[in-house]
């Protein structure tokens, strides 16, 4: 494939940084996203919304370049025909019914009333809003508002659909419906970018996962690659105990322990490990012996721990 062809079916970030004044939004992100379902996963405040806003020109990059299928949001007419973005903001222009909201936004494309009418019906049908489309949005429940916003963002048949935490606040039933819709849209060859702070809820439909924390991209690839990548990343753990040197030497005999450092107060040791699962089971074994009294165990890098929780967390088994 030529570079040119690649550019036109990809979303590209090149060394993109965004600062909100002094506050870091995202830092030096380089990404190239092919068609399919891509999920942006990271804890709150990690920069997911910032990445999405950067893609669509709602905020401007402090440095670096972004292109979506070779288009830039500066050229709004072409760009927003190709892109739909369902933001995190749960707010609407005042005084509209669900129907009017979708219809109005289609009319802004410059299409005639018949086309806008047809596409409105189709979009409302897709999100299964039913009769409530004619009601004022002000009377909607959270789930209905989510649906009408989704309908508005897909109504014009975008090639790229960006959804910021689309499952947030939905009941399990609505979640399942939404996931099925996303999966279908992804199958139709659309670029689908979905953000979530819970990997487990989107991993089934994702072709690709981008992990981000603290504004830094930490892993990217298919779900198995990413899980592996995070497992291989050495993690630091602080263990409070009464014989830190002894513990360090015991733990160091395990291959996975790559670094040890005594705490300044002599009452603990920082250990870095490449395999956290085995590390914890070894530690449990040592604790059970009763020779070393272990008072506390805490991850020393919060970010890595948070990601670890997302990925392996609940069920403890990779993939």
């Amino acid at each position: 494939m030529t570079d040119h062809a690649t550019l036109h079916d990809r979303i590209q970030f090149e060394n993109v940084s965004k600062f909100y004044g002094e506050v870091l939004g995202v830092n030096k992100v380089t990404l190239s996203i092919p068609p399919g379902v891509t999920t942006l996963v990271g804890p709150n405040g990690s920069g997911k919304t910032t990445l999405m806003n950067l893609m669509t020109g709602l905020v401007q990059a402090s440095s670096g370049t972004i292109s979506v299928l070779g288009l830039s949001p500066g050229n709004a007419t072409e760009f927003f025909r190709a892109v739909g973005y369902c933001t995190q903001f749960d707010s609407f222009p005042r005084g509209l019914s669900g129907w009017q909201f979708v219809f109005d936004s289609l009319m802004l494309h410059g299409m005639d009333k018949m086309d806008a009418f047809r596409l409105t019906v189709e979009a409302l049908d897709r999100v299964q809003l039913g009769d409530s489309a004619g009601w004022p949005i002000a009377s909607y429940s959270k789930g209905m508002r989510q649906k009408i916003r989704l309908a508005q963002s897909i109504a014009h048949h975008p090639r790229v659909l960006i959804l910021d935490e689309p499952l947030n606040g939905l009941d399990p039933m609505a979640r399942a419906e939404s996931l099925a819709l996303f999966e279908e849209l992804g199958r139709q060859g659309m670029h689908l970018i979905i953000s979530s702070h819970i990997l487990d809820e989107v991993d089934r439909i994702s072709d690709r996962v981008v992990l981000i924390t603290g504004g830094y991209l930490i892993a990217e690839g298919n779900i198995h690659q990413v899980r592996q990548e995070v497992r291989d990343k050495p993690m630091q753990v602080l263990i409070r105990c009464d014989h830190p040197e002894l513990l360090a030497s015991r733990m160091f005999s395990i291959n996975h322990c790559v670094e040890a450092r005594l705490h300044a107060d002599g009452q603990g040791v920082f250990l870095r490990t490449g395999d956290i699962d085995q590390f914890y089971s070894m530690l449990n074994g040592i604790a059970a012996e009763g020779v070393i009294k272990i008072n506390a165990v805490a991850p020393a890098d919060d970010d890595a721990n948070a990601i670890y929780q997302y990925l392996i967390g609940s069920d403890g088994s990779a993939s």
Binding site: Q60, V83, L108, H109
Partner: protein, 287 residues
């Protein structure tokens, strides 16, 4: 089918103007629908029609002799010059125009427009157009009513004054001054509302600036809405007391030059607003 879609989009690509007109029309419609028919805006109706009400009462209560026409002409001139231009239209436009963009930021709905396939310049100018339509419709209606109610009670003499006498040129001038004032203040407040989270303090500075403007050097008078309008006023009111300060006569400028000057000022303000609009970021949390 694909072919018709293809040729459709090609023809649109060649004629962005047709698309822009449609988009602008739609946006303006959406905005006017909201601006003109909302209870929140009722205080602006009040601003526009307070003098109308007073003139109406004056017409009912006071007796009208032909000799009174010149007095009432001065009163009307005063109402336009000191009330409408400096207060009524000023605050009315502050209300109408500063909510066009800022209001949507506060309500967190601006992003829907920024995510639609509409150039931001078109968006801004459409909003300006919508605000202008609302303001002009309102204040021009009030002005027409003011003229009718002021001269109506004089009967045939009043009709003669307005349609065949000196009143004709005066009325025409007022009906030009009012929309120009709406556009001028509208452009200024639209810009201020994009620059400041709360544009009111800045508007107060503008109010002060407009008030002292007549005594400033003529270079500085070029950046004031009221100073252009002053040259268009058909009746110069004999100044008394504090008003003497406000009616300082400066170099005479022809009506056309003054109107063109003001339109130029509006164009400059709108151009800069478009530039800001292109760089505008959605940051509702910190706004």
């Amino acid at each position: 089918m694909a072919d018709t879609v293809g040729s459709f989009s090609r023809s649109f690509a060649q004629q962005p103007w047709a698309l822009w007109r449609r988009q602008a029309g739609r946006l303006t419609l959406i905005e006017v629908r909201r601006n003109l028919f909302s209870w929140k805006a009722s205080w602006i109706y009040f601003l526009a029609f307070v003098p109308t009400l007073l003139i109406f009462i004056h017409g009912l209560v006071d007796r009208h002799f032909v000799e009174g026409i010149s007095d009432d002409t001065n009163v009307l001139a005063g109402i336009v010059q000191f009330y409408y231009v400096r207060l009524g239209i000023f605050f009315g436009c502050l209300g109408i125009f500063s909510r066009l963009i800022r209001g949507e930021m506060i309500e967190r709905s601006l992003h829907f427009y920024l995510l639609s396939p509409v150039r931001r310049e078109i968006l801004l100018l459409s909003k300006f157009a919508a605000g202008s339509i609302s303001a002009v419709l309102l204040f021009e209606t009030a002005m027409v009513a003011n003229i009718a109610l002021m001269y109506g009670p004089f009967g045939a003499a009043g009709r003669d004054y307005v349609f065949h006498g000196a009143g004709l040129a005066q009325s025409e001038a007022y009906l030009v001054i009012v929309p120009l004032a709406c556009l001028g203040y509208g452009a200024v407040f639209l810009l201020l509302s994009m620059m400041f989270k709360n544009p009111t303090p800045a508007a107060m500075l503008v109010l002060g600036w407009e008030a002292i403007n007549p005594v400033l050097p003529s270079v500085l008078q070029k950046i004031s809405v009221a100073s252009y309008l002053r040259h268009l006023m058909p009746v110069s009111i004999p100044g008394e007391g504090i008003f003497a300060l406000l009616t300082v006569e400066t170099e005479p400028v022809s009506g056309w030059a003054a109107a063109l000057g003001l339109l130029l000022l509006i164009a400059v303000v709108l151009t800069y607003s478009c530039y800001r609009m292109r760089r505008l970021e959605i940051r509702y949390t910190t706004e």
